[in-house]
């Protein structure tokens, strides 16, 4: 079964082809410190604009990030959490893109 996380948009397969369960954890967001119009501010990476001067970045947990790892809960509890609106079943994804045979073919 393939699933898409409604929080981070990540897509994953559970159970895995070898039969083991997969416990999705939302990826953290990247907060970038930039100089913009003479001021130093922190913004999510997706909000970077032309002219911003990046100084550094840090990882920050998502405010509503999902973590399907429940250290001492049973599988039915994990399923209950999904049913509560965390993820939806989707079609299997298309195969990953093949890279170009050589760098020159990319241009």
């Amino acid at each position: 079964m393939f699933l898409e996380c409604l929080e981070c948009g990540g897509r994953y397969q559970d159970p895995q082809p070898d039969g083991l369960r997969y416990y999705h954890v939302c990826a953290p967001i990247v907060i970038v410190t930039v100089e913009r119009a003479g001021a130093r501010i922190e913004i999510p990476r997706r909000e970077l604009a032309a002219g911003d001067k990046p100084i550094g970045f840090r990882l920050a947990p998502r405010s509503n990030g999902r973590n399907e790892n429940s250290p001492r809960e049973w599988d039915n509890e994990r399923k209950r959490r999904r049913k509560a609106g965390g993820a939806v079943e989707i079609d299997p994804p298309a195969p990953a893109l093949e890279p170009f045979a050589s760098a020159s073919e990319a241009r």
């Binding site: 996380c5 369960r21 990826a27 953290p28 990247v30 429940s70 049973w74 994804p93 893109l97 050589s102």
Partner: protein, 287 residues
């Protein structure tokens, strides 16, 4: 317990080795029970515990119980009351074929008392088993849950949304050793060089980062691999770059392996990472 030398039952004398000095039976009273604790990382496995028991009256009995742990790596327990007598032998194995050695970890203990006042008195056997590889007592060869080769498996991780890094978290109850990892980055048309690194952290503090090997320009697809004990390769004729991971690394539950891409743009897209890992059961839950 001292076995009286004038024990009249000839079977008892023979089995217990009173005359020959042989045998390793384990004496149990009616208050003692066998407690079997098992954790699994694969669903659908039934663990079977079987053995022979000689009662105080000289009757040879057999017992066979089953236990079905879930796949969440949480230890489950089952107790068997055998009565007053001697445990002669015991074996633990999977009821059916198909599972790799390392998918379950079991231990058999002797306990007394009830919930809240349980006393563990002896550990008879602990280790890995499957249908063909059995845990046996006596002559047990006990192993810790973190010993041995573990379970080799291929994990296909989360395919992140555009503009998001690859990040995989070691699940609860597991210990991972990443052997190799592969993911593909497709950059969008934004003209800026990206640089990919692999990083390891414990969920908060980063403890390893590989160096960026080459610029990754716009509108380009490159395959990135990372492997333990690898020699860093910056290839001039191929679109595959190889990073090194620490050798013989053990990552605990909650630790993360991820990409760290300088100048990652909103339209850049990482594929789902595919990882070959060795996994052990941490057996860190309370039972």
């Amino acid at each position: 317990m001292t076995i009286p030398s004038n024990e009249p039952n000839p079977i008892t004398r023979k089995v217990l080795g009173i005359d020959t000095g042989a045998g390793q039976p384990f004496y149990m009273t009616g208050e003692d029970r066998l407690r079997i604790v098992t954790a699994a990382s694969v669903a659908g496995i039934t663990v079977r515990i079987a053995g022979r028991f000689l009662t105080i009256g000289g009757e040879l009995t057999v017992f066979e119980e089953e236990q079905t742990p879930g796949a969440a790596r949480v230890p489950v327990t089952r107790e068997i009351s055998l009565g007053d007598g001697w445990l002669l032998n015991l074996e633990v194995f999977h009821a059916t074929t198909g599972a790799q050695l390392g998918a379950t970890y079991s231990s058999v203990r002797v306990v007394r008392g009830g919930l809240g006042a349980l006393r563990e008195l002896a550990a008879l056997i602990q280790g890995f088993c499957n249908f063909h590889n059995r845990m046996i007592w006596p002559n047990a060869q006990n192993t810790r849950s973190t010993e041995g080769e573990g379970l080799y498996r291929v994990v296909t991780g989360t395919n992140p949304a555009a503009g998001v890094e690859v990040i995989e978290t070691v699940p609860a109850g597991a210990i991972w050793r990443p052997v190799s990892l592969q993911a593909i980055l497709v950059t969008d048309a934004t003209v800026i060089n990206r640089a990919v690194r692999f990083a390891l952290d414990d969920g908060a503090s980063e403890y390893y980062r590989s160096p960026g090997l080459a610029n990754h320009p716009a509108s380009t697809t490159v395959t990135y691999s990372a492997a333990s004990n690898a020699t860093i390769v910056v290839a001039g004729i191929d679109t595959t770059l190889l990073h090194a991971l620490p050798q013989d690394l053990r990552m605990l539950a909650g630790h993360r392996i991820r990409t760290a891409t300088a100048n990652l743009q909103a339209g850049d897209n990482w594929s789902a990472p595919v990882m070959l890992i060795q996994e052990w059961l941490a057996m860190d839950g309370t039972v």
